[in-house]
Assembly symmetry: C2
Homo-oligomer: 230 residues x 2
């Protein structure tokens, strides 16, 4: 008996949708921000390991990354007791643990959909590969016959999507299609059993609970920067 909600979009049928953030791990709720920092810790640890450091304290880590030491300790404590009081954290051990927690200790199979300018660049972008993400294949609607694209990655016609995803047991997709195609392609990915999408399309997508989606919105990043420069 509140408002009348003229044309509610599919899925959300509530008057107000509170923002979700974070996911649970064996009961406790882990804030999304913690996960992002976990990746940063893992990266810093990688560098420390390269420098043959044996141990690191929460305050050293915090200085390296610009957080407080309490935050470092608290973040890590979500997942277990990795430190030694009076000593700090063993670098190699902690790094191994973080990689296991993040799931980056094994290679992850990824598909990319939409081989335009941005898609092509991401195919050859070294940053993903370096962190253990393997873009196995790509799809585009403009490709008539399979061809080899940037970085030697095969590009198939979008019609082969379901077949190839199953073939390579791909659980991850990078979405770089047009705004118009985004929802339809996402639906197909989800139906094909994908579990996470990294979405570069500036469109809010309807996805079921169990599919995790992250938005990377380049124009939005620029716009908010723009605000600060006056």
């Amino acid at each position: 008996m509140t408002a009348k909600r003229p044309k509610a979009p599919r899925g959300t049928s509530h008057p107000d949708t509170p923002a979700d953030s974070g996911s649970s791990l064996d009961g406790r709720k882990i804030p999304a921000a913690v996960i992002k920092r976990l990746s940063l810790y893992a990266r810093a640890l990688q560098e420390l390991e390269r420098q043959q450091a044996e141990k690191v304290s929460s305050s050293e880590l915090s200085r390296l990354l610009g957080f407080t030491s309490a935050q470092v300790r608290k973040d890590l404590a979500y997942f277990g007791q990795f430190g030694v009081p009076g000593f700090g954290y063993p670098v190699g051990d902690l790094r191994r643990n973080l990689r296991r927690i993040l799931g980056t200790d094994r290679e992850l199979q990824v598909a990319l959909v939409g081989v335009g300018h941005l898609g092509t660049a991401l195919l050859s972008y070294g940053g993903f590969t370096r962190q253990g993400f393997r873009i196995v294949c790509a799809f585009d609607k403009e490709v008539s016959a399979p061809r080899i694209g940037a970085a030697g990655i095969p590009v198939y016609h979008i019609d082969e999507l379901e077949k190839r995803l199953a073939e390579h047991a791909i659980g991850f997709a990078i979405l770089t299609v047009s705004s118009e195609a985004a929802q339809a392609v996402a639906n197909r990915l989800i139906a094909a059993g994908i579990s996470a999408i990294l979405n570069f399309v500036p469109v809010r997508l309807q996805t079921p609970e169990h599919v995790k989606i992250h938005y990377v919105d380049l124009a939005l990043e620029m716009e908010s920067l723009s605000f600060y420069t006056r």
Copy 2:
């Protein structure tokens, strides 16, 4: 009289660096998250304007974007009174106001430094242009003579950085160089008077207070997605 801090990095000399977030506008502190949402409102309004909508309520906007209506009203109220009680917000007016507030009502001159895979893609990425950002020129250390790069944008040798930035009154930079070069290039950009950097390099940069910097870390986005898929 706490820890001894062996080798403190330049710049930060405090034991713990609390995370900044947000910036002030005539006294009041505006959370960074508000600014991001402002961009989303502006974009939704653009679409509503295209559909010839004359008015929009906070609850319609909230449904479109997945927030609560209270949040929409509160965010907008930071900057003024744009709505009419019992009616809603006039679409065109609100959009104009938001664009003015974000600074996207005028074209913004941008330089891109580091014309590798990612850099090249961003040169031809339509998303920036569409939102009024104009990549005026690019720089790379591997370019001996000026040449025309992707999307017809001139690419100069990095040595011409200072000269060209001044020439075109560029206040914005996109950073897509290597991790090794990042800090040095950032220093030059800052010395040349740039006021904001969109940084794609996965390295924490030391920047003075008055230079705004945003990090876009693609590998990190993937890694945190990876966490949720087990």
